[in-house]
């Protein structure tokens, strides 16, 4: 009854609470925040001993691996779900404060927040409670493949099958969507973090060098590849030599990174093949015609689409601006939230 007034006064929010990055879409404004999901917490000692949030987002991420003992840098999301409830709530609170005008008359925002399709009831409830604790008046959940498909521009409400593969920081979500609902959804806990981890392990094993998460991520972005190409690229990397305990520089090639990434990428391929096996034949025909769409940060891995094309024999398309697909999809659902009940997930 008062939805018109509410929409006038309140800035409803759509949040892509990702393992690696958190994006916030504000109704009528678009994506206004894109920050790493990282929190730096300072623990003061002495007579005024207390815990305080030192930094959130990009500034906190820059402290990762460089902080002194008094500062703990935490990534409160792991494998797409909340690993540290309190810190997640505080992080959300800080992000919402950045983007939501806290005028006296404005009501608390309604929030759409995305959850991995494979998340349990407990994990979904944790995300909902966390958003409520951060100041939301109502929280609606949407599954990530659905949001990604909407954000990528797939015809989710049509009676035709659309397949989306969202490779995020913590999970890879595979969804087959038709008529505004999920026909199949699958989730594997392999994402950008696992790829970084695989690179760290590979370098440790083959070079005897220790590198940090940020370095591994920059290697992945720089010369990471999912499919062997004609061009071999190289990158100079710094790390600590395990035998000597001294920082050293060394050069690594894209072929080696490809080798390092083989195992986690095979898991992604398996998840996609599993989804295709379980897709109803009519929708399978649509997918054979249109192919699948890759979204999420993992879609930016060089030649990942080619790997999936070769493995499945289907056309694979990388969405435009894959990093923001889920947030944009959440935002589009937010704009029409009163008319799109079936796309939301239940607890």
């Amino acid at each position: 009854m008062f939805s018109f007034l509410r929409s006038y006064f309140s800035n409803d929010l759509a949040i892509d609470l990702g393992t690696a990055n958190t994006l916030i879409y504000v109704r009528g404004k678009g994506i206004v925040l894109d920050e790493p999901s990282v929190v730096a917490i300072r623990m003061d000692g002495g007579p005024n001993a207390k815990k305080s949030i030192q930094a959130v987002g990009q500034s906190a991420k820059e402290m990762l691996g460089k902080a002194p003992g008094a500062i703990t840098v935490i990534r409160p999301m792991k494998d797409g779900v909340i690993a540290d409830f309190t810190v997640t709530e505080q992080m959300l609170k800080q992000f919402i404060r950045k983007v939501h005008d806290s005028r006296m008359l404005s009501p608390s925002p309604r929030i759409i927040i995305c959850v991995p399709s494979g998340s349990t009831q407990v994990e979904r409830r944790a995300i909902r409670e966390s958003a409520l604790g951060a100041g939301a008046s109502q929280v609606f959940l949407i599954e990530e493949p659905m949001a990604a498909a909407i954000g990528a521009g797939l015809p989710v409400s049509e009676p035709t099958g659309s397949m989306v593969v969202d490779i995020g920081g913590g999970t890879t979500e595979v969804g087959v969507i038709s008529l505004g609902g999920m026909v199949y959804s699958g989730s594997v806990r392999v994402g950008g973090d696992k790829l970084d981890e695989a690179i760290i392990n590979y370098i440790s094993r083959n070079y005897g060098m220790l590198i940090g998460e940020n370095t591994a991520e920059s290697i992945k972005k720089g010369i990471g590849s999912a499919f062997p190409g004609a061009e071999v690229r190289e990158m100079e990397v710094s790390g600590i030599n395990k035998a000597e305990g001294i920082p050293r520089k060394f050069t690594i090639s894209s072929n080696e990174i490809l080798e390092a990434l083989t195992e986690p990428l095979n898991n992604v391929v398996s998840a996609v093949k599993s989804a295709l096996e379980k897709t109803p034949p009519e929708l399978g025909a649509d997918i054979a015609d249109k192919g699948m769409v890759l979204t999420g940060g993992g879609a930016l891995l060089r030649d990942l689409d080619r790997l999936l094309m070769e493995e499945t024999g289907l056309p694979v398309i990388v969405a435009e601006e894959p990093l923001t697909c889920v947030a944009r999809g959440c935002g589009m659902a937010l704009e029409r939230m009163d008319k799109l009940g079936s796309i939301f997930a239940s607890d």
């Binding site: 109502q138 609606f140 909407i150 990528a152 521009g153 797939l154 015809p155 989710v156 409400s157 049509e158 505004g180 015609d289 249109k290 192919g291 769409v293 689409d305 094309m309 499945t312 024999g313 289907l314 056309p315 694979v316 398309i317 990388v318 969405a319 435009e320 589009m332 659902a333 029409r336 939230m337 009163d338 008319k339 799109l340 009940g341 079936s342 796309i343 939301f344 239940s346």
Partner: protein
Amino acid sequence: MNGEVTPAQPISDIPGQGGDPSSSDAESAQAKGIVGPQLRMAREAAGWSVAEMSRMLKITPHQVEAIESENWADLPCETITRGFVRNYARQLGLDALPLMSALASASLPQNAALEIAAGTPVKLGLRARIERCDWIKVVLGLVVLALAIAAYIFVPADFFRTSFSFLPSAEPSSSQVEPEASDVGEAAGAAVSGQEVAPAESSTEPAIEAPAAPVQPPQADAPVPAAVAPAGPLEAAGRADGAVVGQLKFRFAQSSWVEIRNGKGEVIFSQLNAAGSQRVVEGQPPFALTIGNAGYVSLNYNGKDVDFSQRSKDNVARLTLE
């Protein structure tokens, strides 16, 4: 705007392959709408057939031809079509950006609007209704609580007694009270009499009490007497044997709870007494008394008035009479 891509252009000269993507190329593609022809020329220059390109891109030959002939209606929605063109350009080593710009002005099949057909169950409304019901329950609860508090504050204590005195059960009658008193008397072996005790009833009591009590010989030092006397003269009838040495007379201006224990700690009298009534309790001292609503109770012990106002706390008096 004047830049032109000629059919004979070699691969190395195609933007993205041999040189930087230029804005003139983008404008050219956009102006002339030659996305398809450009792709076809590049494919032919590379020496690939439609079937080979179809195999590489994992799309059907029909779709390859549709792209090359810009027959967009034969292709899926805009997102997919743009993806196909981008993949096609990458396969040929072309820069996809100018082609994407050109496609922006092409009449691609638009993405379907994000609308769910009417009749789809909407969970949002359901949730809102549940919350509204919760609010109603909360408000109703508060109203009931407020009414209860108001009733407690404003309704006088004797409202129900005065308003419903015509009901037979509104005030305990003597016939209901008496058995309780006599029960206590039985247990404790004490003599109790009340002014409102009916003679007929009280006369039966000794008959009941007599077996329970020790033999009532005419001896002077019988240990425990047991008798309920008619209240008329306010005198204990069983006193003739001389066993009863203590007599308590109560007058109640308002209703009051009285409990009396003898020297052994046994309860010899315990009951609520109605306003305006009188009670006589006899027994062996000492007596431990607990008198509720003490401000409205007067006590006479063996002919002497007892003032227990100094021993009252919260209008409850506790005293021992030797």
